[in-house]
Amino acid sequence: MGIPDKLKMRLSMILAIFAWITFTYFDLLYLLKHTASNPTVPLLPRVFQALFFVFLYIYYRYSIIKSEHFNFLDLLWKVFVSGLITTVVSLSIRLFFFFFSSSILAKSVLPINIFYHINVGMVSAFLISTFIIWKKLILYQKSKLLQQFWSLFEYSMIGALLFDLLGYNITDPVAVAVLIFLVLQAVVLTFNLKWVAYLNFKQKWKSILFIILVIIYLWYFNTNLLAFEDGTSIINKHLGKVFVLAISAFIFLYATISVLVILFNLPTSSVFERKIKEAMDFQRLSQAIPAGQTEEQVFEILLDSSMSAVFADAAWIEIGATAEKSKLVYYRNVKKEQVDLIKESVKHSTVKKILRTEFDKTTHPQKITTTIKDSDFKTIMVLPVMVKNIQIGSLALLKDVTEGFNREMVNIISTFVNQASISVENFRLINEALENERYKEELKIAKRVQKALLPESLEMIEDFEIQPYSIAADEVGGDYYDTLKLSESNYALIIADVSGKGTSAAFNMSQMKGIFHSLARITIDPKEFLVHANNALSACLERTSFITGAFFHIDATTNKIRFSRAGHCPSLFYSKADNNAGYFKNKGLGLGIVRNLSYENYVQVNELTYSKGDILILYTDGITEAVNANNEQFGYDRLKHSLELRTDLPTEEIKHGIINDLYNFIGSENLNDDYTLVIIKF
């Protein structure tokens, strides 16, 4: 195995030429020594002739491509060319004899024998190379049995070579028996012609031409050699060998059968070509998606493949609109007006249903072809395009003859449509998965942003204690609270809740933070603050988004709180003097609801004086709207009650107490909203 194929080829070629020279030399030597009338032929030249065949065989085995992806026509072309060369050589020899027929040269034994040997060499090469090519053709898509049978045949041929060494006359019954045995094997082998099916119409005609030429060559070579051998001057008769006769018979038989089979296959080749095309279209459909093509392209491929598969005269495909995509319609050789007319005139119920995209999987389509009246087309076949058992559209094929579609056509189109559906379904699944992944990533970012927006620690305030608590649910919301120390004893305090979830909520929350930090330094008046904030937000909030909030101004020198509510849930206030807690239900309107200056009509400012021990609680609706298993809300009363139990405790403990009460109430750790709570104790 270490020897490269190229070297083996050259070596076997040299050895073949050497063997040819040797047996020619011995033949001639023998001829000069003996008279031609002596019929016995010595062993040595016969051995070399046999070796000549063996080396030729080895040479052609390597020179004729080993690859599985060979072209049948190329193989036949090779046979044709080697035959042609042989013929040219043989004809030039004839020409020589023709011109020198009168000369002594043409009549003497020596030149006749030399030319005869040249002829024999060429013909042998032709026979062996054709033998190898026939082998390739026969063994195309071989079974194990066929492979074994072929090996048997080759061994028998080697046997024939050895048999020839024994020097039997070809007319001897033993030789005839051996020949018959070989020919019988050849007959069996000749019926392996799978390759023929893979030729298209044009290739079949070419093949017939080449193979007929092979038969002609064979006939010509043999008659030519016979002409030589008829003369008495030839002793080592080429055609007197069982091996040569058997190989010729094999080549002739296979050539004849091939021509006949190809001829008979000619009319059906178009059907086979169509089948191949269907298979290719099918592959195209199934590969369309991984190849990075879009849904639209899949539907176009489906439309075109279906049309060509059943020879439809016209067709259209209609895919309903989805959340992301608008309705999709492709027409082929038919106009929209015609399609509308056809849809009107179709009577058949199933077909009608499919065309209206009302088809459901539970009713199996018995008949999906029907005749159309009053149209250029006579037959229609419609198929529902289903994704996840829901019809997303329909494919319609039209023919201008009645009964235009047979059962087989319906089957083919069904397969096409199914394949396209699978492709589209996969495509959508992949997209969904990607979308989900992106969404999760977005949420992560939004959560980080949201967290970053809340103050890490509230400014140390000497005049009162402040204790915030905020926890976000899985889905990011937009709860926001903040404080700002404006001067020695003036504080701004805000709580806000951005409607909506996810990145947009986090984004709006950051706007609110910006507004608070810039605006509160300019105006401390709660109403003015809200009006300006509403103005600023009106320009940047989406149509359905709004922000609820409450703004407080605490003056620690006068112990006064001035505040306004912008649609936010009412704050809870506990007065130590009255030993009573209550909600501030002042008028207010969410930010971004009325996006003009009339907003100021909807807000009011409240004012109160606090004293030591009073408590103010700001919160978001997540707390009051938290529900338990019975779908009851935590509500205002429970919140108030929870505070009233702990009015004497420090803010830290009030916070824990309220949060505990809340979690005990909802009875699970699963938050369905953000919970934000800010407790201020004066």
């Binding site: 809740d497 409607s499 909506g500 979830k501 149509r543 359905t544 988004s545 709004f546 609820t548 912008a566 649609g567 936010h568 849930c569 009412p570 008028k587 207010g588 309107l589 969410g590 609801i593 009325v594 996006r595 909807y602 609706d621 809300q633």
Partner: protein, 113 residues
């Protein structure tokens, strides 16, 4: 989750909203409102069967306020339960929307104008 029915009368149209309106179901409310406004008739919305409305649902009502005004159309809500009314009230929408107790009052409101 949510069930919206539409009934068209000669002079007006009635939307019946039942169930709960949260962030996901508010999309249906939005499309129902869109269709109704496109019909260019005054709208009465029956919220008798509405159990809960989230801020997203309120956002839908809010988002059409300007358009209703621009088209000179009236939207009257009625039949809210206490909880639902409270959510409207807290946000301040009660100041902007016409909210009635019964359908008769709602019709009267439309006839009066």
């Amino acid at each position: 989750m949510i069930d919206i029915k539409h009934k068209e009368e000669e002079e007006l149209q009635i939307l019946f909203v039942n169930g709960e309106i949260d962030a996901s179901s508010s999309i249906h409310l939005d499309s129902a409102m869109r269709e109704s406004i496109d019909k260019n008739k005054n709208i009465i919305t029956d919220l008798t069967g509405l159990i809960y409305i989230s801020s997203a649902g309120l956002g839908v009502f809010m988002s059409y306020l300007q358009e209703l005004e621009a088209n000179n159309l009236k939207l009257v809500l009625f039949g809210m339960n206490e909880k639902v009314y409270e959510t409207f009230e807290i946000l301040g929408l009660d100041q902007l929307l016409i909210i009635k107790k019964t359908i008769e009052e709602a019709r009267e409101e439309l006839n009066a104008s």
